[in-house]
Amino acid sequence: MTFRRKLLVIFALTVFISVATVAVIVSILARRAFEKADDERTAALVAQFQHEFTRRGEEISARVAAIAASDAATRISYAFSRKERDYAPFLGEARTIADNQQLDFLEFVDGQGTIISSAQWPAKFGYPDASLPLGQLPQSAFLKKEDLPDGEALGLFSVRKIDAGEGHDGENHIYVVGGRRMDKEFISGLELPAGMRAMFYENFKSGFSPQSLIDPSGTPQDPQKIADFVQQVLAEKQESTTLVHWTSNPAEDETLHAIPLRDLDNRIAGLLLVGSSRRQYVELRQQIRSATLFAGGAGLLLAILLSGWAAARVTRPVEQLAQAAREVALGNWDTRVNVHSSGEIAELADSFNHMTHELLEQREHLVRVERIAAWKELARRLAHELKNPLFPLQLTVENLVRARQQTPEQFDEIFHESSTTLLAEIANLKAIISRFSEFSRMPQPQFHSLQINDLVRDVVKLVQAQLQGPGRSTIECSVQLADTGEMAGDPELLHRVLSNLVLNAMDAMPQGGRLTLLTHAQENTVSVEVQDTGMGLSPEECDRLFTPYYTSKGHGTGLGLAIVQSIVSDHGGSVSVRSEPAHGTTFTVVLPRNLDKLQPGGEERNDGQVEV
Amino acid sequence: MRGKMQLTVYNSRNPRMPSRPIRRSLLFSLLLIIVSGWAAAQTPNWHTPEQQLAEKISAVTGPGAISLELANRSSLNRTQAEEIHRGLLQELSSLGLRSVAPEEAAATVNISLSENLREYVWTAQILQGKNEPAVVMISLPRSSATDSGHATPAIVLRRTLLWSQPGRILDAAVLSGNPQRLLVLDANSVNIYQMQSGHWQAQQALPIYHSRPWPRDLRGRLVLRKDHLLDAYLPGVFCTSAAGVSLTCHESDDPWPLGSEELRLNAFFAPARNFFTGALTPGVGKQTSASAFFAAASLPRDRYALWLFTTTDGQLHLLDGFTDQTAATDWGSEIASVHSGCGSGWQVLATAKDSNDSKNDSLRIFEVPDREPFLIGQPTEFRGEITALWPQTDGASAVAVLHDSSKGEYEAYQLTLACDQ
């Protein structure tokens, strides 16, 4: 991960964590505040509802009282104060009056509770209604279960005695019992604030009955969701509140407050369920959450942009430095860093520029030193090489001079012998000069398709005779060739490389040993190893091995390995050596396949010549 | 036709079937019954049904002690029911069934005298022990003769029942002479009856031929003539008697005479309806037309006659030869003037309903001293609707036809005014 990315991540994380923390804190605080407000609102609404419920009761009482005081009631009372009972004129009376007074239930009953006229069950005239509290008339409205032709219903009732006026037989009173059904009309008729609804549960049967739950729309959906709550309230017999999740959508949630309603016998006749919608709260919460998320997101984006910009500002000089360092590593010693800033980075850049400057100077110095050293070595070598044949030449010439002076008769003979020696020595000198010029005249490789294994075999065949020549210790030779495949290279030059290495190895084993040649194939390269079991080389020797004119042997110009390296390098390959003293040496030549350098046309050789 | 006709059962009562002799004899027997003062069938013979029921009861119970209860659920009166009770006990005892107190009886027999539209139905529910009660019953035809007669209250208007029959009477007229003769006009004939020993005896029926169907609410008028016996006016048909005993009828829209003979006014009758078109001939003074009317009554004045018309729109029109004055009255559509000789001399009889929703009509008498009718005396109530009211030719009396729907009979009355009130 780059320095810039690291910086970016650190900046972004910091901003994100800060925003998230703020959002969570705001959300928690908002929820607490709302829940408190919601509780207070629900409590207020429940109080309002109970007030409304009481008002309904009073309204019913007033209507029943009005009916009891009406002419129709007096007429009924008068008619039934006599012994003969005729229900016929009053069959529809209760229904008519109930409709006028907007009551669901209305009955006229006599002192024994016998129904004279019933609005809710007209057919029940003459039958007793045992559930009426005629003994002691309740003054306020009360809840009562009412039998209906098609089942039972709960109603809010009021009962009044009809004041029959003077002359009425005081014993047989007539009563008016009127009420409103606790049904969806009743529920929907309650004046409730927005977001609030009332439901009613009729407690007729033990266990929860979904049909007994009534809401303004009729039957609520999924009444089973509150079954447990209803049963709990019925068991505890006191007001209770719960949160109901109607659906997976939290906006549909409802805070439900249950109020047990008791009839005259103090039994719980039903439950009034006041539901307060959580939608407002949930929506507010969602708004806060989305605002927080939006602010956080925007902050995060801004943070990323800013951090990116800041990181870029910080890291650009560093990157320039790193790039310059890489350039230097690649050998571009004259690389410089241009930093337009101040502070530590600017100092660092200056130091870097100074460093490269120093390095450049030191290298140039070193090159100069090396060059001088090389010239010195060359001069020394040349002098040494030339001095060796010159001395016999000097001796021979002096011998000739002396022979002329001292023994002219033998001069001819001596002359003959001396000229032969002279010629031999001159030839030797020529050979020395030729080898030096050869090194300076190394040609550019001409690439041809070849099999490295073929070259190895050729070289081994060439030296085979020398391996077991008379007067020589025997050298065993083993060849291990892998399937190297085709490659491109200059066969002559590579042949020289291999033969140089093989001759070197043979030279390293004057006492005999084993020579091993191995080829390896890699995907893009081919390698050849030449191993010997000679005396080996010290690490210092290894370091200097490829330096021209260096030799560890008693003979040779010291140019062999330098030529090897030169050719391999021209092929784009590398040569390496590993050696341990007394355990032999292994040269490894790695050559790229260079198939792209194959020229389909000419195979010319540029026989350039370089004077060294 | 399939099968062989073994027995022919013709429908019982059919006035259009060619069975005139039977119908005549029926009419005759009815006449006998009515004229003899409704007394004939007061004691019908209950013996046979009593016997039949007693036999059926006995077949269930066998001889023994029974307790018998009788309930009358029919229109039979109490006397008749008691009579039947006695008769039954007699029949039962002759079959070996003794009537005892309920606690001693082996069987309880509850007898009900009931009836349906056609028959008396006498049932006996016989309860023996704890068995389901056995039911036996007999039925016997109902007779209208058992219906009780009606009272004739004292009246201001003197009315005399002339004739009664099931078919509709259109008009009737009494021919004075010795013997007295009665002419009765109905839809099919003019029937002539002769007074013999206090009863009207059928003498002759003069059939009326007509090709078109009669209109609903058929009307007709008999006019006695001096040169021949009678003229009969029916909607679209005019009949005149010839040679004493035959009647010649032809389709005619001749105007019908209105009022009494001395005030000659004729009016055209709508042939397919029940009213006069309003066209008058020769006219009241110069007035030759009035609104369509049902009936007319004339009141002779010194120098002119005042004509009253009950028009079809429910109004009363008074025509004096010059003016046509209208008054909305509560008069019925039937009016007739009668010369009584008392009061102003002439009075107008007008029909009225005696009360709302009543089926019965009444007749009221009006004096019209100038143009303002006023009621004199009490209305005379009739048991039924008055379907016709025509002045007699001499103007001294009128004939009213009453339809007594409870008996299904038409009755013709002669109306005279007794002015000594």
Partner: protein, 480 residues
């Protein structure tokens, strides 16, 4: 002279004006016994749905009562029943049968034409009767029609008086009759307008036309009557005892049966006993007096007493103790659903009252108009004044087995007309099937405006519109 005559005229006018005022005040008290008026439009309303005017259309079950009122206006039957329920000639002048009462010959009245002018022929009569009576073999023979049936048909002349046996000329979907009126306008289920036939063979009706509004609510009808938009309306049974502002109510004898009909035969003796117990549990008298405002009579039998003379033999008094005894030990497997007509306002109360009475006797019945009923509360009009014909058709309507008086009684031979005892035996046998529990016989009633006269007050509530006439007085001249 001229001056005096003018003065005289003025005085007369004044006098007449005062007479008019005086008589107007009298009008409200006394009523004129006027001769029937010709003309006018009689506007009636009937409750029953009428979708077809074809009296032989058996599919028109709910409109049976209405069609019985309407059919005689357009069509005639071969016979009519008189007030005693006996067949009288109508289109047939005379008839005779063979000994077995299987072969009948009806001689047609000559000179009668359908309203389109087509003469009435034996062929036309036979074709018409075949539609309603596919089981009879009907053939024309000269000016007579021969009717042959498989079994003795002693009530055939009375049967032919039923409106379903009206003589109808069916031509390309049109129904043509010989009746007192012709069809002027017909909107099925809504309005019917009829015009009087001038050439009606049995005398032209008094009114010029009759307009009948169909299927209006009772409340609408009464309102229209009171506003003078209608001259007569058919009343529901519970309205029959009421009074009508500006009019009167004409009641029939009880001619409609209110009964419980079970949808199946009793499948076991226990089932029979339960049904008997239910019959005993119901307090018919209170149903009549309270729920139906005494508009009927408690019914123990299928036919009313005025028709049979023996109906009192079938008990109607409630006895819930006996009811309990009868079904003691029987476990009613499930509550009976009692169906009723939801459009009938009193049917629900009656059904609920029955359920309460049944509950007292320990029988479980649920009034339920929606569910498929075990028993149904139905009102059926008696189609004929002839008790035998009425019973036969009642059995058909209630889907009871056909009464067989020949088997029920051995007293009468096939040539004799059926006796009341035969009728009793047949009716008793029907009741013994426990398929039906008769409750009440109800009156039918019409409310009439004051200007309607001549309305038949026959016991069976039939309408005799040709004899109805309208007087000039009208509470309102407003057109409907």
């Amino acid at each position: 002279m001229k001056r005096t005559s003018l003065l005289w005229l003025a005085i007369n006018s004044l006098a007449l004006a005062s007479l008019a005022v005086a008589s107007l005040t009298i009008t409200t008290v006394a009523r004129a016994a006027t001769r029937p008026h010709y003309g006018g439009v009689l506007r009636l309303a009937i409750a029953g749905p009428v979708s077809s005017l074809d009296p032989a259309d058996a599919s028109n079950v709910s409109g049976q009562t209405a069609i019985q009122h309407i059919a005689p206006l357009l069509f005639n039957t071969l016979t009519t029943l008189d007030d005693r329920g006996e067949a009288q000639p109508s289109l047939a002048l005379a008839w005779k049968s063979d000994f077995s009462s299987q072969h009948w010959e009806f001689q047609l009245r000559p000179g009668i034409a359908f309203s389109d002018g087509t003469p009435l022929t034996a062929n036309a009569v036979a074709a018409s009767l075949r539609v309603a009576n596919p089981r009879w073999n009907i053939s024309p023979a000269g000016d007579s029609v021969i009717i042959e049936s498989d079994s003795a048909a002693r009530e055939l002349p009375a049967e032919l008086a039923l409106s379903r046996n009206s003589v109808v000329l069916r031509e390309g979907g049109k129904l043509i009759g010989t009746g007192p009126f012709t069809l002027a306008q017909w909107e099925p289920g809504k309005n019917l307008a009829l015009s009087a036939r001038e050439d009606y063979w049995a005398r032209r009706p008094f009114v010029d036309s009759v307009e009948i509004a169909i299927g209006r609510s009772p409340r609408d009808q009464m309102l229209s009557l009171e506003l003078g938009r209608l001259d007569g309306v058919e009343l529901a049974a519970e309205q029959a005892s009421g009074t009508v502002a500006g009019g009167r109510v004409v009641n029939s004898a009880p001619d409609e049966l209110l009964t419980i009909v079970f949808s199946r035969d009793a499948h076991s003796p226990e089932d029979r006993r339960l049904r008997q117990a239910l019959g005993l549990a119901i307090d018919r008298s209170l149903l009549n007096t309270v729920v139906l405002h005494s508009s009927g009579e408690p019914a123990g039998g299928l036919l009313p007493n005025w028709m049979t003379g023996y109906e009192f033999l079938f008990s109607t008094s409630p006895d819930s103790q006996r009811a309990r005894q009868i079904h003691e030990g029987i476990n009613q497997s499930s509550a009976w659903n009692l169906g009723y007509d939801q459009t009938d306002p009193s049917a629900r109360v009656i059904a609920e009252r029955i359920a309460l009475n049944a509950q007292d006797a320990g029988i479980n019945i649920k009034p339920n108009p929606a569910a498929s009923p075990d028993a149904q509360l139905v009102r059926i009009r008696l189609v004929s004044r002839d008790a035998h014909v009425a019973l036969n058709h009642l059995a058909i309507s209630l889907q009871l087995p056909a009464p067989d008086p020949h088997r029920a009684s051995s007293q009468s031979t096939s040539s004799q007309s059926l006796s009341t005892a035969d009728l009793y035996a047949a009716e008793n046998a029907l009741l013994q099937t426990e398929r039906a529990i008769p409750l009440l016989h109800l009156r039918t009633a019409v409310a009439l405006a004051r200007n309607v006269h001549g309305w038949s007050e026959a016991q069976d509530g039939r309408w005799d519109l040709p004899n109805v006439w309208l007087s000039a007085e009208k509470p309102s001249t407003e057109k409907p």
